[in-house]
């Protein structure tokens, strides 16, 4: 299996002279699931958007296999991104979206689950929040990109759907590197290999739940 390394370095971002991200560094390889925790406004979503190239920053270096990706077209060919809010075109059907994004060889395997069978003929606008989130995460996990950035994949989901999506991430992460952020820190701790806390613009590696207490993330 092909192994790839993603390095994100020197990310600096300010909003109105307030430093949000200060020289952030992160490294992951194929098979890694890295969790990013942080309070509201700590810059987690901004960090992922900067990596994906949809948010400007003062400085950023995105490297895949030691090659610096300068252009957006190079970044989006290797990295996929799940936004906090739904991004699938609402006028399309689930069937159409799958046919546009998943290769014919993978299509049968992709659709071979009960939830997708139920929603297969529906329009995107007819899906519930949970169904939509599940579809979006699964589409990203099955695409050709080497790394995926998931911004709040568990947001607004029932415990059952959270478990389904967690299993989906674990099952498919062996061929990709995954960075995910969410406020559901218990689920993050459960599925991630490494955890970082974003605080005051810096990222701190977290080794135990006690460290989250020390940093004031949880009480």
């Amino acid at each position: 299996m092909e192994s790839n390394i993603l390095e994100i370095d020197s990310i600096i971002k300010r909003y109105d002279n307030k430093l949000i991200l200060s020289d952030i560094y992160l490294k992951l390889k194929t098979g890694d699931i890295i969790g990013l925790l942080g309070r509201n406004g700590s810059g987690k979503s901004t960090f992922l958007k900067i990596i994906f190239g949809i948010e400007p920053s003062e400085s950023k270096f995105v490297k895949v296999n030691d090659k610096v990706l300068l252009k957006n077209k190079d970044i989006i060919s290797q990295i996929s991104y799940l936004d906090q809010q739904s991004f699938l075109p609402k006028n399309l059907s689930v069937k159409k979206v799958i046919s546009l994004r998943i290769s014919k060889e993978k299509s049968e395997e992709f659709c071979n689950d009960n939830l997708l069978k139920q929603i297969y003929s529906s329009k995107i606008r007819q899906l519930s929040g949970g169904e939509l989130r599940y579809l979006e995460v699964k589409l990203l996990l099955y695409n050709e990109s080497k790394f995926i950035l998931l911004d709040e994949p568990f947001s607004g989901l029932s415990p059952l759907n959270i478990e389904i999506i967690s299993n989906l991430i674990i099952k498919n992460s062996f061929q990709k590197g995954v960075v995910l952020t969410d406020h559901n820190y218990r689920e993050i701790i459960k599925i991630c290999d490494e955890i970082y806390l974003l605080k005051n613009g810096k990222n701190y590696q977290i080794k135990s739940t006690n460290e989250l207490l020390e940093h004031g993330y949880i009480k």
Binding site: S80, Y81, F87, L100, L139
Partner: protein, 95 residues
């Protein structure tokens, strides 16, 4: 590549209703050059502008398929131009 074209065509389909409305409206002035300008440039850029305002998040769907915003715009522009040229050719054959 084939998939990228179909994806861009889906993007263009979202722009088309507005392009069509502006183009038909411009026909009432009975000025050929105005019709071409409105169909090719004006309505296209207005529909892109409206997409930017109303559906900005949908760009992420195309980015996740490896298509940049500029690729979407350029390919859609040429799809629009091709449709107009085909329609004009049919018009000339009939009339």
């Amino acid at each position: 590549m084939k998939n990228k074209f179909f994806l861009t065509f889906e993007f263009y389909k979202k722009l088309f209703p507005l392009i069509f409305i502006f183009s038909v409206a411009s026909m009432f002035f009975m000025i050929f050059s105005l019709f071409v300008f409105v169909s090719v440039f004006f309505s296209f850029f207005i529909s892109i502008l409206i997409f930017e305002v109303n559906n900005k998040r949908e760009y992420i769907f195309y980015f996740n398929n490896g298509i940049t915003k500029y690729q979407l715009w350029i390919i859609s522009f040429f799809i629009n131009l091709s449709i107009l040229l085909i329609l004009l050719s049919i018009w000339r054959v009939i009339f």
